[in-house]
């Protein structure tokens, strides 16, 4: 009995905590007249489906495809550069590897908003600013690469060395053993971490805002900021935009929730 009372209490806590999400979905469904009633209503009595209208009016197809492009590019670069490094860090214990790990941890903590200034000046000088989405991919990858390495390293550490040694005895090279034994065995960790990196980059704002000036190349976060403007009143439209943007993210999260949580907790405290 007590267990169900606790469960009920936990559900109440979760409901209070996630109320802002409910409010977002609710506002998106209300017609604009109902949005501005006081006292507010807590159930959409006359739900209005204006997702398609907001999606077209606010050019969300362009914004979202730019965000998608940046998220995919970032994830690919991070996986290419990070997987090997995470593997090496899990296999070799030496002063040199400790130094590498230390430097990587240091570069994990640099806030994007503070790095934006020097990066903007450098990219202007070398001309990378002319291809702004590539520029964002390059720096966003540098931002999230350390997290990827730290989290993936813990998955490699769980794979016994003996499996690779057996493959080596059978004549495989180090590279062969890495590609055919270590990576496939660590694929769960690699996939979940890649999804995490993808989702984070899909919501990137600082670098996109600082480096991309052309509107057609901007991301969904910048689009939302433009929509919000200084004297916003179209909350119904803004929440509709938000719902279209985050629903796929929340969907992926709910699907992979258990794995994301365990991956995070394994890596974050080590």
């Amino acid at each position: 009995m007590k267990r169900y009372a606790l469960l009920a209490l936990a559900l109440i806590f979760l409901a209070i905590y996630l109320f802002p999400l409910y409010w977002m979905y609710l506002t998106a469904l209300k017609p604009s007249s109902e949005t501005f009633t006081y006292p507010p209503t807590f159930w959409p009595h006359h739900p209005e489906w204006n997702f398609a209208k907001v999606f077209v009016d606010k050019k969300m197809a362009t914004y979202l495809s730019n965000s998608l492009l940046i998220a995919i590019g970032t994830t690919v670069i991070v996986a290419l550069f990070g997987t090997g490094c995470a593997y090496a860090l899990s296999r070799v214990r030496s002063v040199w590897m400790d130094i590498v790990l230390f430097l990587i941890l240091m570069m994990q903590v640099l806030p994007s908003s503070l790095m934006a200034t020097p990066i903007f000046v450098i990219f202007n000088q070398i001309g990378l600013i002319a291809t702004p989405r590539t520029a964002v991919v390059l720096v966003q990858a540098a931002k999230v690469l350390p997290l990827y390495i730290v989290l993936t390293r813990t998955s490699f550490m769980q794979i016994p060395k003996e499996l690779e040694e057996a493959a080596r005895v059978d004549g495989a090279s180090r590279f062969g053993a890495f590609m055919r034994i270590a990576v496939p065995l660590a694929r769960n960790g690699i996939l979940v971490t890649s999804v995490l990196i993808f989702l984070q980059s899909f919501g990137e704002y600082v670098y996109s805002r600082s480096l991309i000036s052309e509107e057609a190349l901007q991301t969904a976060t910048v689009g939302l900021m433009n929509f919000m403007g200084p004297n916003t009143t179209d909350w119904n439209g803004i929440m509709t935009y938000a719902v279209i943007y985050v629903t796929p993210i929340l969907f992926v999260f709910v699907l992979l929730q258990r794995k994301i949580v365990s991956g995070l907790t394994a890596g974050a405290l080590k």
């Binding site: 501005f36 070799v92 590897m97 000088q125 390059l138 704002y205």
Partner: protein, 300 residues
């Protein structure tokens, strides 16, 4: 040459090569800008000299101008207040929830994970949702508070200079609770259960067990969570951009947002990089303390 190649393919050279690839990437796109930033903070940099390779050095002039600016100390105070309040409340609420979720009931692990739904959302969207919740005239927060009888008239959460910083802090606390809770849950799970049973047999009540057993056993986890909290709180930019943009009149501005504003809105790149250098230095010091403290634990 072939020995080198064989080393790369089969020996320790292989590990070194893999590690170096990522390290070189990070040195190019993180460490180099970091150093470049330090150099820039001693130079005269504006929109026109930005593209020049050689710029005049001005010594400490940028920093002196910064310290003399009337905005500097209030913004530093805001930053400290923002970090302090965020961490205290994230930790307290996160710890409370972690202790609660630690109890035995159906679905506890799953429900605990669902809290992270907030954390996974783009912070800018979270800011948009909170901006609507905070809205003065039709905001739902004012409605709740007036129904509870806590406020007489409508509170203008984002446009009242005495309140706006606290409003952003509230949104940031909301955003940080799940991460704190999950990390603290891991620490709690590491405390052996039989210790509690023994203490309960000896007649210790719940509060005594928490104070004399849970807290001391959690000391290292708490240290890690607090350092990570400082680091993440100083990364918070999107909420400021979407909620108040530092306003009204810098009342809710913090260093990490100010630095960006100086560079990208007033094009005073030299000042922007000076603020950025000061803050980056601070973040790195916190990170060194954090990494060193977790290292010690591994050795012990």
């Amino acid at each position: 040459m072939s020995a080198l190649f064989r080393g790369l393919r089969d020996g320790h050279g292989f590990d070194a090569l893999l590690a170096l690839l990522a390290l070189v990437y990070l040195l190019t796109f993180s460490a180099f800008p970091l150093i470049y930033n330090i150099v820039m903070s001693f130079q005269e940099v504006d929109m026109f000299s930005m593209a020049d390779l050689v710029r005049p050095f001005v010594g400490l002039a940028n920093y002196k101008a910064l310290f003399a600016s009337p905005d500097f100390w209030p913004i530093l105070r805001n930053t400290a207040l923002f970090v302090l309040l965020s961490i205290v409340f994230q930790l307290a609420i996160g710890f409370g929830l972690a202790l609660f979720m630690q109890q035995d009931f159906p679905g506890a692990t799953y429900l605990r994970g669902l809290f992270l739904a907030a954390w996974i959302m783009p912070a800018l969207v979270v800011g948009a949702v909170w901006k609507w919740i905070f809205a003065g005239d039709f905001g739902v927060l004012n409605y709740f508070l007036s129904q509870l009888g806590l406020v007489g008239s409508k509170v203008f959460w984002l446009s009242d200079p005495a309140i706006s910083l606290y409003s952003v802090t509230i949104a940031n606390i909301w955003l940080g609770i799940p991460f704190n809770m999950i990390l603290l849950s891991v620490g709690l799970a590491g405390i052996p259960k039989d210790m509690y049973e023994a203490a309960a047999l000896d007649g210790a009540n719940a509060l005594q067990r928490f104070w004399h057993m849970t807290l001391p056993m959690m000391r290292s986890t708490l240290g890690a969570v607090i350092s990570l909290g400082i680091i993440f709180t100083l990364q918070q930019f999107d909420l400021f951009a979407s909620l108040t943009q530092g306003g009204p009149a810098n009342a809710s501005n913090v260093a990490q947002y100010w630095s960006w504003q100086l560079s990208f809105q007033t094009y005073d790149i030299a000042s922007g990089s000076a603020v950025s250098c000061l803050m980056l230095g601070f973040v790195i010091v916190v990170a060194v303390i954090y990494v060193r403290s977790t290292r010690h634990e591994h050795r012990a």
